[in-house]
């Protein structure tokens, strides 16, 4: 049994300790916003925050999480990055966007007003195949402005 917090809710999983967090989120807790992209920590689609630090959940074993605080894209519903991604129409298929939102939230937590180059560097591990990159960059800038007192709406 592993007990930890997910999006502010206390959760317990009976999954074997070596089970990837991604499987527990998707299959046990039905939090499907965290996407399966590769299972090899190479694409960023399954990114979550653990105690505020971004982690690819496909490579993190559930047994290491006792007492930890996990935030998934569902837990970011009120974060300005979500509204900003929509305002910029920053998705085509949308499959990568959960990971993008989590990576952006992590970046904005440590660098509230990043430059475009800082955003690109921070998002470089996150793969997008549709070519939504320019819009995702703009969305992070928009979310940054919102966090610093600006407007989110288009």
């Amino acid at each position: 049994m592993t007990s930890f917090t997910v999006n502010g809710i206390a959760r317990t999983s009976a999954a074997p300790p070596a089970t990837p967090l991604l499987d527990v989120l998707r299959d046990e807790f039905r939090l499907t916003g965290t996407r399966f992209g590769c299972g090899e920590e190479q694409c960023g689609a399954c990114l979550v925050l653990i105690d505020g630090i971004q982690v690819q959940s496909c490579g993190r074993e559930i047994g290491t999480l006792a007492g930890r605080v996990v935030t998934t894209v569902e837990g970011l519903a009120d974060h300005p990055i979500i509204a900003a991604l929509i305002a910029e129409q920053a998705g085509q298929c949308g499959y990568c966007l959960s990971g993008m939102a989590v990576a952006a939230a992590a970046l904005l937590a440590r660098t509230p007003a990043p430059t475009r180059a800082e955003i690109a560097t921070a998002l470089d591990p996150q793969l997008c195949r549709c070519g939504a990159h320019p819009r995702i960059l703009r969305a992070v800038e928009r979310a940054s402005r919102a966090l610093n007192g600006g407007e989110i709406a288009a």
Partner: protein
């Protein structure tokens, strides 16, 4: 009567498309959302034509039980053909409702109008609306196609950048077939034949059982079923299948040049006269095998119940998949339902169909139990169909001014369109399986597949081409965004720059000498102006500017791309400009998104992408083996959409692919003073020609 657009000609009953109930309009279509924004753009067309608010539309797309058969969502035709059909359907339904209202009100139809579904007479509500009249208007009738759609000036939603209707759900964490769970569902994976026609010598069933999983089998088709993803992975890893009768490919077979050594079915088109004598130039261009590389591996659900095999898939075409599954399983198509659910962007024919057949076969082996198939990343790279390697050789004869008067093309390619029975992976493992049937791709200039865009859009008096279709590719191939147009435009537009250089012309001026379509000329002129072409400077400085143009399929969307690069032993993108003409843009921001996406995917393909082989098969197993363009490698992209609102809408998803690849090659040639003719334009290629 004028000819109906194909989707409507194939599905003439109006009630197949529209249903009015509970103050909503249910719209059913066959063209599906694969990330290209079509569900929003088509809804804009329907809402405008019906005079209802967008949020009154309930959307149903891709369903063999409930929606019309529009074939496959492919070839940039969803707006051109699907949209044109839906517009006529809605215009006709609206006219029928207005006629009924006019009868009831004893009014002339011209006195009546519709506002958000309510019938107005001289601007005043009549108490009638679509829903009060629905029982009196019989839509169980064939469309005549004679209703007149609205003129451009009457559009209120068409032509606006309406936000995507599907994005909020996807950002809220649902919306993909991967997210579906059916009661009692088990997770499954198929043990894949490492090479075509390999046979299974054995598998460690005891190890599979030890992990709490089980195995089902039919011929050489083996699926492992488990209650959880983790159990399934462990069981698959432990299964250790022994495959026999595997061929051993040579890594050199992954190169486009290998195709030219192979037997081919040769088809010739165009001028039968031999090329005239005179100064000539010839060059050969190529691309290797490339992956769709969808961000999420292919997934499908299937459930055999009550005599019905129900399948949920992110496939491009639910009806073609149903026909394929029916033929493979030798059962009545009417006993199969295929429903589309969104998946990761596919960019063509990826592993979706294969995963769906995997799920279907597995479900028939465990009747009553819903099954979910989810491929591994490695299987997605190794086994989903690839974009074929291809080589295009061009030879031009030039006049005294250095302009081409005759063009001969030789295309050597694997198959670009490889759909249909017997072509999916699982079909080749089942009892009584036949080898994959030979390719049936045609070689016509329009729409073409391997031959797509090989006929120049320029004024070149004589052209001919031969298409060498190679059946025996070492990697299974099928449609990938742009098909042969990517390589043919890469070749033609690179070649034009070479011809211009040979005779001392500026590449833009040279193109304008040869281009008579005013819409095309406008794009080239504007892209040149945007990019500061006039100050382009000499070649060989390490910084280069390159331009390329094409009209997709020579009949669809127009795009001109200019790339600015820095190049030494590698090529770095510094800026991209694009001008495009979509005719009437239903959703201008959606068009821009498609243009941006095409540019970035083509740039990634041109600079980085290649599937590799080793003696065991595909040697590309992960993103580490298949780099794609990342954020910090993507330059500013400036797009000017020069739409023509009074012209028919043109599909825009694929039109930037060839021009982008060629613009980068032309810019690299300008920067380096060296011509790279083989994608990907990597450090190794640069060093090889330097």
């Amino acid at each position: 009567m004028t000819e109906l657009p194909k989707s409507l000609a194939d599905n003439r009953r109006l009630d197949r498309w529209l249903h009015f109930a509970d103050a909503r309009v249910r719209v059913s279509v066959g063209k599906v959302e694969i990330g290209q924004g079509i569900a929003t753009a088509l809804a804009q067309i329907a809402a405008d034509e019906l005079d209802v608010a967008l949020d009154r539309l309930q959307w149903r797309a891709g369903d063999t039980e409930l929606a019309p058969d529009e074939g496959s969502t492919s070839s940039s035709l969803s707006i051109e053909v699907g949209g044109a059909s839906l517009r006529l359907v809605c215009a006709e339904a609206r006219a029928l409702f207005l006629a009924e209202a006019a009868r009831m009100l004893n009014a002339a139809p011209a006195e009546l109008a519709i506002e958000d579904g309510a019938i107005l007479r001289d601007g005043v509500p009549t108490g009638h609306d679509y829903w009060t009249l629905a029982a009196r208007v019989d839509l169980a009738r064939d469309a005549t196609g004679t209703a007149t759609p609205k003129l451009r000036a009457a559009h209120r939603i068409v032509g606006t950048s309406t936000p995507r209707r599907d994005l909020p759900e996807k950002l809220a964490g649902t919306g993909f077939v991967h997210d579906m769970v059916l009661p009692g569902m088990v997770q499954a994976r198929v043990l894949r034949q490492p090479r075509p026609d390999a046979t299974l010598g054995g598998v460690d069933e005891a190890a599979i059982a030890r992990h709490g999983a089980r195995l089902v089998r039919s011929g050489h088709f083996v699926a492992i079923l488990a209650p959880t993803a983790a159990t399934l992975r462990a069981a698959v890893d432990a299964a250790r299948p022994r495959w026999e009768n595997c061929d051993t490919p040579d890594p050199a077979m992954a190169e486009a040049a290998w195709l030219a050594t192979q037997p081919a079915d040769i088809r010739a088109r165009g001028s039968e006269a031999p090329p005239p004598a005179g100064r000539a130039h010839q060059a050969t261009y190529s691309r290797p095998y490339v992956s769709h590389a969808s961000l999420g591996p292919s997934c499908a659900l299937a459930h055999e119940h009550d005599g019905i095999l129900e399948i949920w898939s992110h496939v491009q075409g639910v009806y073609p998949l149903r026909a394929n599954v029916a033929a493979t399983l030798r059962r009545d198509p009417e006993s199969i339902i295929v429903r589309h659910v969104a998946g990761p962007g596919c960019y063509g024919h990826n592993g979706a169909d294969d995963a769906a057949l995997d799920a279907a076969v597995t479900a028939t082996l465990v009747p009553g139990t819903p099954v979910r198939i989810l491929w591994s990343r490695a299987d997605e790279f190794a086994f989903s169909p690839a974009g074929t390697a291809m080589q295009t050789t061009l030879r031009a004869v030039l006049d005294e001014a250095g302009l081409p008067v005759d063009l001969t093309a030789t295309i050597t390619s694997g198959v670009h369109v490889n759909r249909g029975p017997g072509r999916l992976l699982a079909a080749r493992t089942l009892p009584g399986a036949q080898p994959m049937p030979p390719p049936t791709e045609v070689s016509d200039p329009y729409p073409g597949a391997g031959t797509r865009n090989i006929v120049p859009y320029y004024d070149i008096p004589a052209w001919r081409y031969s298409h060498h279709l190679v059946a025996g590719t070492p990697i299974r191939t099928s449609a990938l965004r742009g098909l042969g147009a990517v390589v043919n435009v890469f070749a033609l537009e690179s070649f034009l720059d070479e011809l211009a250089d040979l005779s001392g012309h500026d590449p833009v001026a040279y193109r304008l000498r040869l281009l008579s379509d005013p819409r095309a000329r406008r794009l080239v002129e504007r892209a040149a102006a945007m990019s500061g072409w006039a100050g382009r400077g000499p070649a060989g400085t390490g910084t280069g500017l390159g331009l390329a143009f094409a009209r997709y399929k020579n009949r669809s969307g127009y795009a001109c791309v200019v790339a600015k690069v820095e190049a030494d032993t590698e090529i770095r993108l510094r800026h991209i400009w694009c001008t495009a003409d979509s005719g009437l843009a239903i959703n201008p921001d959606g068009v821009r998104a498609q243009l941006e996406g095409g540019i970035i995917q083509a740039a990634s393909m041109a600079l980085k992408e290649q599937l590799r082989l080793d003696a065991t098969g595909t040697a590309t197993h992960s993103w580490a083996d298949y780099p794609i363009l990342r954020f910090s490698e993507i330059p500013p992209i400036d797009i000017e959409l020069m739409d023509e609102p009074d012209e028919p809408s043109l599909g825009m998803g694929e039109c930037t692919m060839g021009p982008t690849a060629a613009a980068i090659a032309n810019a690299a040639a300008h920067a380096l003073g060296l011509r790279l003719r083989d994608m990907p334009l990597t450090r190794e290629r640069i060093l090889a020609v330097a």
